[in-house]
């Protein structure tokens, strides 16, 4: 073995054990010096060391608009950078939002460029804010949340009505009839209601239900209307179609099951169907986003 010219570290353990003091490779040691240099430059440019009751702000700056719309410059930090980025991105989107705000919805969807903006921005907004309840395609969930992709609307399906729903939120309510009506009366009403949407029901019971529905005992007509086609002012749904929101009639295989499903709703009433408000005070969405989202929901398929 060739004689080794490398020195040892000078330590000796256990009488004979020694360690060579090999120098670090040059690429490594100069790499280290470069990173130290980089760190010093970084301290100068960006916020770095704590000093007294504050810290070094660095020489880098960000210029953004303040609340009064004037240009303002502050030392670089992530909050300033974010403010600038939000303003830049908003400025890029602003022409589209301005056009949409100024135009009636019917015209927006006829403009190919605006329409594709509505579809892509609307999809992102819908996925994050609406899909948790109304599901990804707006199909809703029986027993929980209404379908937005069909043409049946509790509170109205025009863009303006959808917008009002988004801004103010909604709170569904149906009183419980379990203690007001006899069990047999509720059963009769269930037969009548199912008959309205073409189910083969017990004729005699349905006739009794019809009377109750339109009497002041049941008073169903007050919210659902004389023709049982619903009243938007109360968010009372149309009972004459085959669309079910609360009573899961479609999954019941026989008449008995369907009657039970409707009975349950009439007996217990509904104190749910709460849609949060997205506009107004402390709003999650701004008016431009709400109008865009209203058009998007309207275009899901069922808008009126």
């Amino acid at each position: 073995m060739a004689e080794n010219t490398v020195q040892t570290t000078g330590h000796t353990w256990d009488e004979t054990l020694q360690e060579y003091n090999n120098p670090l490779p040059n690429w490594w040691i100069y790499g280290l010096y470069v990173t130290i240099l980089f760190a010093i430059v970084y301290w100068i440019i960006y916020p770095s060391w704590p000093v007294g009751k504050s810290h070094l702000r660095g020489i880098s700056t960000v210029t953004y608009l303040n609340a009064e719309g004037q240009s303002e410059t502050h030392g670089w930090n992530t909050r300033a950078k974010l403010l600038k980025e939000m303003q830049d991105a908003n400025a890029l989107q602003k022409p589209y939002f301005d056009k949409i705000a100024a135009m009636p919805a019917a015209q927006v969807v006829k403009d190919p460029e605006l329409n594709s903006f509505v579809l892509s921005a609307g999809k992102a907004l819908f996925s994050e804010n609406c899909a948790a309840c109304h599901q990804a395609g707006g199909q809703g969930k029986i027993g929980f949340y209404p379908n937005l992709a069909d043409d049946d609307w509790k509170y109205g399906g025009s863009v303006g009505e959808i917008e009002a729903t988004l801004v103010g939120g909604r709170r569904g309510y149906m009183p419980a009839f379990g203690e007001v009506l006899e069990k047999s009366q509720i059963e009769a009403i269930a037969h009548y209601v199912l008959g309205l949407s073409g189910h083969a029901v017990d004729k005699a019971k349905a006739t009794e239900g019809n009377t109750l529905f339109h009497s002041n005992t049941g008073a169903c007509y007050y919210c659902h209307g004389e023709d049982a086609k619903g009243r938007k002012a109360f968010g009372a749904p149309n009972l004459t179609d085959k669309i079910w929101q609360w009573a899961n009639v479609p999954v019941a295989t026989d008449l008995n099951g369907k009657v039970t499903a409707v009975q349950k709703v009439v007996m217990g009433g509904l104190n749910k169907g709460v849609m949060p408000a997205w506009g107004g005070e402390n709003a999650r969405l701004n008016p431009g986003q709400i109008k865009l989202l209203s058009i998007y929901v309207h275009e899901l398929g069922g808008g009126k």
Binding site: R79, A80, A132
Partner: protein, 247 residues
């Protein structure tokens, strides 16, 4: 008299090795964390941040008990994508009464720092019982036991413990009066430890968070907590550039 203090002294003396190693590894903390306690601009000066009501506080305890923090963070970072998805970035001031804070960094589920008011109580209840019934692609487990009764007997003790960490729950009339001044009378009543249990039940009854008003369940507490997250500061009254100046 003294031997020269060399590298060998440290290597061959366990006491020196321990002390100096501890110093070396604490430099990062001393430089990056300790000064924040002394800085004037660490906590943003914003209105509205208050301690949790007894019910919300119990909800927070359940949040921690169930390990929600292992999948959900409560820290919206100042990036555009986060702001668009979750809302305004989190402020240090917003978690000043949190002990321990729930910032986290693991996001298997979404950030919850501003989940308050985003969904209905009914949605939260359904979602906690059976997440897949409302979000089909969710991997969150079911929490059916949350409908069980809430043990509210020790809520006053829990608040007393938090009081020792600096949360301004009141025990005396003087402290109560101070809270009235700082948070308004309605809130100050909520923070009065002797009335904790009464207030807890009252809020659960009035809010009926789980849709079942016969008893106070753990669900009531947890949903009350989730619904207050991130809602205390009214950002329409805060100028964005003012928050920039705190960093």
């Amino acid at each position: 008299m003294f031997k020269k203090f060399t590298h060998e002294t440290i290597e061959s003396n366990a006491g020196w090795l321990i002390v100096l190693t501890m110093f070396a590894i604490s430099v990062g903390g001393l430089v990056e964390i300790a000064p924040l306690f002394l800085h004037d601009d660490t906590l943003e000066k914003v209105d509205g941040v208050r301690p949790y009501s007894p019910l919300e506080q119990r909800g927070r305890d359940i949040y921690i008990r169930e390990g929600c923090y292992t999948c959900h963070s409560q820290m919206i970072r100042p990036f555009r994508d986060e702001q668009l998805r979750y809302g305004h970035y989190s402020l240090a001031a917003e978690s000043k009464y949190d002990h321990p804070f729930q910032w986290g960094s693991k996001r298997t589920g979404p950030d919850l720092a501003r989940v308050g008011g985003k969904y209905s109580n009914e949605w939260h209840t359904q979602h906690l019982l059976q997440p897949k019934s409302v979000v089909s692609e969710s991997v969150m487990p079911n929490y059916p036991w949350l409908m069980g009764p809430l043990d509210a007997s020790d809520v006053a003790d829990r608040m007393r413990a938090l009081r020792t960490t600096g949360v301004p729950y009141s025990l005396t009339q003087t402290e109560f009066d101070q809270n009235v001044k700082q948070f308004g009378e309605e809130h100050a009543r909520m923070f009065h430890i002797p009335d904790a249990q009464v207030n807890l039940v009252a809020q659960a009854q009035a809010g009926n968070y789980d849709g079942d008003n016969r008893s106070v369940s753990e669900m009531d507490a947890l949903v009350a907590y989730l619904q207050v997250l991130g809602t205390m500061v009214d950002f329409s009254k805060v100028k964005p550039e003012d928050l920039v100046k705190f960093r």
